[in-house]
Symmetry: C2
Subunit: 489 residues, 2 copies
């Protein structure tokens, strides 16, 4: 992986301590909006192509942040797109020229941000490239297209900046936290950026401006490759797939131990999306264990050390398959197979009915930080941290893709509704991946971790956890965290 | 798929009615052993390369069937192979020239049967091809090598017969039933054969002789492609992966409904490996439903129609990934990753401890054909039958790879021990595939089928089942079944 130090001619940067060195970051905030015209110098029109959750959030945030600068944000949709009505409802209209045909919008924009679905990007990128005006910048929000071009022998067109800004949270949270940021400066979703081609010599500042305008509390550098791998693996592991497998297995586990459905839901899903999530978000991973009493800590330790290795093994398998391209081939095969029917339901099992009851009576109760649940969850998170560290990802990427995105963006959605609400508001690639890998985690917990947790804790694995450098990296990142949680109703 | 009619200059063939036409089959039996010298004309030495479960079973059966003919069966192993001691214990020794180095044995054999593991075959086939004597026949027991050669641009060497005989059961059952066949003529495991290259003009009879000598009750024709697809998909679906996912999900289901561990095991695993298996083996799939009383049949119907579509969807996904090559890439990646550590355990969950108790007290009890369990199991089997039929496989292959191999070879092993005993006595490719897909089936039953089974049965799916042409195909195949079950202790 390339170094992730960088300089900016526009924004004040900061150096953050991370294990083994430092990383450059840009702390964000609305006080920087005055610098946006300098960052976007030469850009008069921004075209946002696509209106999924990311397209909607980014178009709205960019428009609001750039209001008064003279820079226009226009949404481009395919002819006959079913999304046009929603775009109009959000203020993008043909009437004022901020809603149009995707190729026409591409042709008139100085920065073209490609936020259509992966399959559409694979099918239509050449058409879009062909419509670009000379020198227009190409913007991406993840590395999928690079992987696809590599696999098919294609290339990005020469003579254009190719940059990426990748919010580490689902589109809906990118918009909600931005809106909360009106009252709390800095509320938002962290983002990574990558400069894949710097034709203008100004690509870094253009990317940083884009990220600041989205409301990112802080922005760190990565590469398209590194972003792609951590993004696709992370959503299959702790962000979506693993947490789904975990709560399903835990719910059955507590039910079999004699709990009624509501209690079993509280001890599995509610414990994770409530107290455990909040503790990690505010005080870090080690605080989850430290807050437990003696017997609770022993239970945590046994659960942690029983789950770490099976989870690590699965995450290594996912990483191998994503890096090899196998995982993306399976997504393409699924897209073909599912062309005519909906994706399978994932929230039909009894636990999600119990979840409705739990939410209905939530006001009067406070879920406990179940030590068994906590040990399994933290172990899986640490397994992903270690796998990413071993594969050479920068620490900002590791903590954002393994921890912060989970506790500050995704889990609040599962807390407010259920697993389908969380998973199915993500990209199609993520939705398919969570369905592929969630059951593997469930089986690993049930068949390997639960039986092993009956035995004593492994002291070596525990020492590796308590003395782990991730705690420092997460504490540094927490200093840049705004003092506001996402608010969902 | 090519037609599977064929003629023989040596063996008396039979025409079997199947849906939409007929298929040619060779009914086997010890009374045909006198024809083996004619089938093996020109073959003086048979080299069996490799000593896994199939290598051991085939080498022993061939040697015993060819005793007195002057045809020698020799086992070839890699230098330093850990299997040499077991080969000697089964009567293959350096002393009498029936055990030797794999390349030396290859060089002196007229028929070289390649039964080393898939990964070894991928790595070393060129070396083996280079050692063949002119005109020697190449024998395979599944289509893996063809798939590998296609993927890597390789070819079988010209000037050799390339034939396959593929027993539709695990190696251990190929040997055990052969030995039982000493007292009951015809006991054995059915086999398919394929002629990929017929240099000698005698390849069909050579393959048929090989199959008769293995003890196959009947032998049908397929192609290497068709064999490969149905073999790899089948073991991931009803043969290993799906049945494992099904019994895990059913055990939890019955436990949650209030059953004690022993009862839950009896209603899930024991019901399948005991009465359901026996009924299908003796009387066919429709008999399972017909033997139920009114309420039982209603339960069966709801379970059947709730499980059929989710199972079908998963089997279509598996089929796509196997046909695309994606599944084999994942096996190769897993082989690399697991080079230094054992594969994960699959029999650690509580149900298998309950299984020990059930087996210990089996003498005094008779498990019932649980209608809920039966509906789910038969639906999954039918989903595989329909997927294979839609993809154009011959009916003999469909019923053997989806039904007969399950009830007459594999499930008796799960009945005698547990799931690991069944899965981990199969090929490494099968073991990895069962671990990949079993959890997907478990999740599909738990999250989709169980909730749906609370509703009414789908009458259209039921009509498709009761009037399905597979019942005729299975009844025809049953006429060729010997009157002996595999005996395991």
């Amino acid at each position: 992986m390339s170094t992730n130090a960088f300089t900016s001619a526009v924004f004040p940067l900061q150096t953050m301590d991370v294990p083994g060195g430092t990383e450059t970051v840009l702390p964000g905030g609305r006080h920087l909006f005055g610098l946006l015209p300098a960052a976007f110098a030469g850009v008069h029109r921004i075209g946002v192509i696509g209106w999924g959750p990311q397209g909607r959030a980014q178009a709205c945030n960019l428009r609001d942040s750039l209001a008064g600068t003279g820079i226009t944000v226009t949404v481009g949709l395919r002819p006959g797109s079913a999304s046009a009505a929603d775009a109009r409802a959000h203020g993008f209209t043909e009437h004022d020229g901020t809603l149009g045909d995707w190729l026409a919008v591409t042709a008139e924009s100085d920065l073209v941000i490609l936020l259509i679905a992966d399959a559409a990007l694979a099918a239509h990128h050449e058409k879009i490239f062909g419509a670009l005006r000379p020198g227009a910048a190409i913007g991406l929000s993840h590395g999928f297209l690079l992987g696809h071009l590599r696999a098919t022998g294609g290339e990005f067109p020469a003579g254009h900046d190719v940059i990426a800004v990748c919010p580490k949270g689902m589109g809906d949270s990118v918009r909600r936290l931005y809106q909360q940021g009106v009252s709390v400066n800095g509320a938002g979703i962290n983002a990574s950026f990558a400069v894949h081609a710097d034709h203008s010599g100004r690509a870094v500042d253009l990317a940083l401006g884009w990220s600041v305008a989205l409301g990112a509390p802080y922005t760190f550098r990565t590469t398209l490759d590194s972003e792609y791998l951590s993004d696709i693996v992370g959503e299959r592991a702790i962000l979506l797939g693993a947490v789904h497998g975990l709560v399903e297995s835990l719910y059955s586990h507590y039910r079999l131990a004699g709990d009624d459905p509501v209690t079993a839901y509280e001890r599995s899903c509610e414990a994770i999306t409530g107290p455990i999530r909040a503790t990690i978000s505010r005080s870090g991973l080690d605080a989850v264990r430290e807050q437990l009493d003696g017997p609770g800590r022993d239970t945590f330790d046994r659960a942690y050390t029983a789950a770490y290795l099976p989870a690590r093994e699965l995450i290594a398998e996912i990483y191998d398959e994503v890096a090899d391209g196998t995982e993306l081939r399976s997504v393409i095969l699924a897209d073909r197979r599912l062309a005519d029917r909906p994706m399978s339901r994932i929230s039909g099992s009894p636990m999600w009915a119990a979840g409705e009851a739990v939410r209905a009576q939530r006001a009067g109760r406070q879920a406990a930080a179940e030590p068994f649940t906590a040990g399994l969850f933290v172990a899986t998170m640490m397994a992903q941290v270690d796998e990413f560290a071993e594969r050479g990802h920068p620490w900002s990427e590791i903590v954002n893709e393994s921890i912060i995105e989970a506790v500050d963006s995704l889990l609040p959605y599962m807390h407010a509704r259920d697993v389908a609400y969380m998973v199915d508001n993500c990209s199609r690639t993520a939705r398919l991946g969570a369905r592929r890998w969630g059951p593997r985690f469930q089986a690993a917990y049930e068949q390997i971790a639960f039986p092993a947790a009956a035995g004593p804790a492994d002291s070596e694995l525990l020492r590796a956890f308590t003395g782990h450098p991730v705690h420092q990296a997460l504490a540094e990142a927490a200093k840049l965290r705004p003092s506001v949680d996402i608010h969902l109703t």
